[in-house]
Symmetry: C2
Subunit: 245 residues, 2 copies
């Protein structure tokens, strides 16, 4: 499918709004994604209001897409709705645990990606904000998410006002394993990352940051052990307060 093959992340949007009817149509079609036992363990909070986006923005490290996109969607794992239904129907829900959380996360992310494919097919641009799990507590407070829900993914949506280069991808042979996982040898790793390491923009990236290797840009600057560990603590703590752990 051309829209998937030609996909790029869009961070700059025209001022035009995204009609509520169009958005709802895309979300409704997206809900055709596979879902565990047809429980549909997700919700989505639509932010259009500038005031709400201003509150969300710092929680996403002030990435400009939050303020500039006409629509910000926060997709949440949701066992609240289903559990409320159970309680109202003389059934005792048992979804305050990690397996249930993961089931809801899976449902949510399949729904998210289905939505993104549909939005892009309709000519919209999207950006997936990886920051949602960095500060879930702040997002929970801002969007008033109740127990047994959890923000999993944030997507900014709007009409594209740029057409950036497509980023590189690893060769498929580095990702696919036949029958069993064939662990990577030193030369496998060299071959898989060769293209990425040879890209001019990546070489510049290493230089600008005064690093020896591209990998060090990731480990020392972008995704550090210290940050990951500190945010993992916050994540586990928030899973506890949301009732999943």
């Amino acid at each position: 499918m051309v829209s998937i093959k030609e996909r790029r992340t869009i961070r700059k949007y025209k001022e035009d709004n995204v009609d509520r009817e169009l958005l709802n149509e895309l979300l409704e079609t997206a809900s055709r994604a596979a879902t565990m036992g047809n429980m549909q363990l997700y919700s989505v909070v639509v932010s259009r209001d500038d005031e709400m986006k201003r509150k969300l923005s710092p929680l996403h490290f002030n990435q400009p897409m939050v303020m500039n996109a006409p629509v910000v969607l926060t997709f949440c794992a949701d066992f609240n709705r289903f559990s409320k239904w159970c309680e109202q129907r003389s059934a005792v829900p048992g979804y305050d645990n990690m397996l249930s959380f993961f089931n809801a996360v899976s449902d949510t992310l399949l729904f998210v990606q289905n939505f993104c494919v549909l939005a892009e097919e309709a000519g919209l641009g999207t950006c997936y904000l990886g920051t949602t799990l960095y500060n879930p507590k702040g997002i929970i407070d801002t969007l008033e998410l109740p127990k047994l829900t959890f923000p999993v993914a944030t997507i900014t949506v709007g009409w594209p006002d740029e057409c950036p280069e497509q980023p590189d991808r690893l060769p498929l042979s580095g990702i696919v394993h036949e029958e069993v996982y064939r662990d990577y040898t030193l030369s496998d790793i060299d071959a898989i990352y060769e293209r990425k390491e040879k890209l001019e923009e990546n070489k510049r990236f290493v230089e600008i940051n005064n690093k020896e290797t591209l990998a060090q840009v990731f480990t020392d600057l972008r995704y550090t052990k210290k940050d990951n560990e500190s945010m993992s603590s916050g994540l586990l703590e928030t899973l506890r307060t949301q009732g999943f752990l």
Copy 2:
């Protein structure tokens, strides 16, 4: 897009094989999905061999699709490849934690759903096996998954030999929240689940199982608190042995 709108889970497949070239083309295009920092934190293990499928089958509660589909794909969160690259490039990886696990899970599930959309667009049928997280340890052993990988989703793939009814979905209004999460009142819940509860097949389902309500079929039989808690323990334990917790 028609293929998403008309989507149904396919559990019965023709005997025809799925060409390796076609499968690889679909997987390669699927890898255009958004990925955290362009790290592509996933791998996929392709099972075609009957011997391997026979080992996987009980781990998926002997659901017949595992043996009957020409291809079984196990999609894994993977920080092993990336960490090996770091180590080989004088960089110290810090991805043995829960945040990193979740980042890899997100990458994986976006890739999974992109693949499913593309496969269905190409006329293939897919079934998402929710059982992958029920017994991750068994799958890890069978597919020889190393530390810092984790099986997240299993998809059976083949040429459809059935065209089942599309399952119901909740009304979109029950899933979308404007600006903040509006928690559900008693009458909201009644309205959201009304269609599902009135379906003849669901009424039969309640009757056959000697239950009072459809919700009880879920809580007492399909997804019980006891099972969820026991499998949550296994899940956390396996996250530990795989190096993420």
